[in-house]
């Protein structure tokens, strides 16, 4: 790898905070409750949100939750690379679990589902990256 490429990678991996407080704090109680249910399932049954570095977690959360929102809304999902396909695999399992365990989600219109998953994404980024007490998250190498 060239020096320039290494520098670019290091810059990409430098910790850049997004949230400085719980992004759900000002949400209405219904959203908080719904996000809480979705979040609890992920934290109890999934591992993808816990890759060891913050920059990697950011990619994982965005990749998998982005595709989950598409699946929940019945939209086609494009997987041009093996890495994208790997996100999709976890998203399919999450989509199925949410439909089975939280049937209320299937009654929501697409824009509400997207808003809900956006709130979940923010909450997960807060829990696992920006608000986490894990001091290894800012390490740039594996």
């Amino acid at each position: 790898m060239s020096v320039t490429a290494k520098q670019a990678k290091a810059a990409e991996r430098k910790y850049q905070p997004i949230y400085t407080s719980n992004p759900l704090a000002d949400c209405d109680p219904l959203t908080q409750e719904r996000v809480g249910q979705l979040e609890n399932y992920i934290m109890k049954h999934c591992l993808w949100q816990f890759n060891s570095r913050g920059w990697d977690r950011r990619k994982q959360n965005a990749g998998i939750l982005g595709k989950t929102a598409q699946l929940l809304c019945g939209e086609p999902v494009d997987n041009p690379t093996p890495l994208e396909k790997c996100y999709w695999v976890d998203a399919v399992c999450l989509d199925r679990a949410y439909r089975e365990l939280f049937p209320w989600i299937t009654t929501l219109p697409a824009d509400e589902i997207k808003a809900l998953i956006k709130a979940l994404h923010a909450r997960l980024d807060w829990l696992t990256i920006d608000g986490s007490l894990n001091t290894e998250l800012i390490v740039q190498n594996y």
Binding site: F50, L83, K85, V89, D90, L133
Partner: protein
Amino acid sequence: MPHHEFECSKVIPERKQHAVIKGKGEDLTSCLPKGYLNTIPGSISERGCAYCGAKHVIGTPMKDVIHISHGPVGCTYDTWQTKRYISDNDNYQLKYTFATDVKEKHIVFGAEKLLKQNILEAFKAFPKIKRMTIYQTCATALIGDDIDAIAQEVMDELPGVDIFVCNSPGFAGPSQSGGHHKINIAWINQKVGTLEPEITSDYVINYVGEYNIQGDQEVMTDFFKRMGIQVLSTFTGNGSYDDLRGMHRAHLNVLECARSAEYICDELRERYGIPRLDIDGFGFKALGDSLRKIGLFFGIEERAEAIIAEETARWQPELDWYKARLQGKKVCLWPGGSKLWHWANAIQEEMGVKVVSVYTKFGHQGDMEKGISRCGEGALAIDDPNELEGLEALEMLKPDVIFTGKRPGEMAKKVGVPYLNAHAYHNGPYKGYEGWVRFARDIYNAIYSPIHQLAMVDISKDAIPTDRGFVTRRMLSDKGLPEEITSSTVLSPYTGKFDSVSHLRTKTYPDFPRAADTAGDAEEIIAVVE
């Protein structure tokens, strides 16, 4: 932060940062102990060293290799009296362990000649074995022996021989976890890509972070083969040295123990674009989801579903028999690293027990994040505990059983708490559907063994009742259970064999046609039709 201060560790105030109790409403932003730091002086840690992590955890499960430690003979202590990573070649790597037996004179005059002599002798003694790993130790690292140079000399002199050098002396990290990291990176730097493997399937995986404890790898590989998946390599349990040189040709890395082997997965993703899929081989739901995800990735989900349906139908009634009898039993889940999160939720949901504490000897904060997330309120989480803290926690929590290593486990037994070996298992394998039932059976046997009552009787002074016989496990466990459970004709205790692994070694698998073959057939059919 809900830190917990042990009475016994008040003299080591820094220890307070290493234990938390998960309170109501607590999450990872408020409840996480420190982790993966140097052990605080004065705290008698239960950790292993970085050499131990590299050799005894990750290197040595490779089965067709002479594993030699360049150092004092004591460094090779862990072999088959403590380790249970079996292999299908008559456990070669467990039966034979090698050390260069470095003494004081070598520290003074150097040990490179001694190393070379040992390497040559070992290859001569086992002429069929052409692969070797050499592990650096503290002593030889400090005197600066150039192991790489000696290894190269031998490879030049003995054509056909290949040697891997692992430079991870004991002091190279806070715990064995430092050694995991070093050997992961050393392997991908030195060996991956140096051999082109034969590809026999359209679906090719590396199975990573799996050490074949009592046959775990063989159970999981059976599922993969039933799906028509080629397991190119296993890193490293029951794994072959040369297979692991070809890791770069897999389509997917399936990662089990992220604590010990995520590094090589991440580097394979980085360097070769092979994605990483984290799975759980423990627990019916987690295992089912894992097989399903691999099936989805390759577009063969129906093959995974067939296995899940068959295995669940076979083993669910037996798991439920134990679940009915383990309801509410308190567990201290005190393994080394990854099992605290592999097991924490699964044993609660599928066996009915309650995890009252998790600890990790060498885990990082990331492992505690997973473990604490999967525990309920009130759980005590401890990083790098010492023996006194363990005893104090047992006194405070009064668990019904503890899952840990054999050293703290024997200590728990002395205070009347039954223990199961979380690292090497009691009657494993524990992975797979049948394995999960075997684990439930071991928990049941541990908790309800009549020995715990008998052991409390002091024959020198207590009266021994002579009007009744000994109680049995069943008498203890079924007391108070409803009739529909105790007399169920559906539920049943474990009915599998003593050895659930050996038969897999001679099993034959369906021959799934490859896409290229199918395409060829289709072309032939079209040609014939035309």
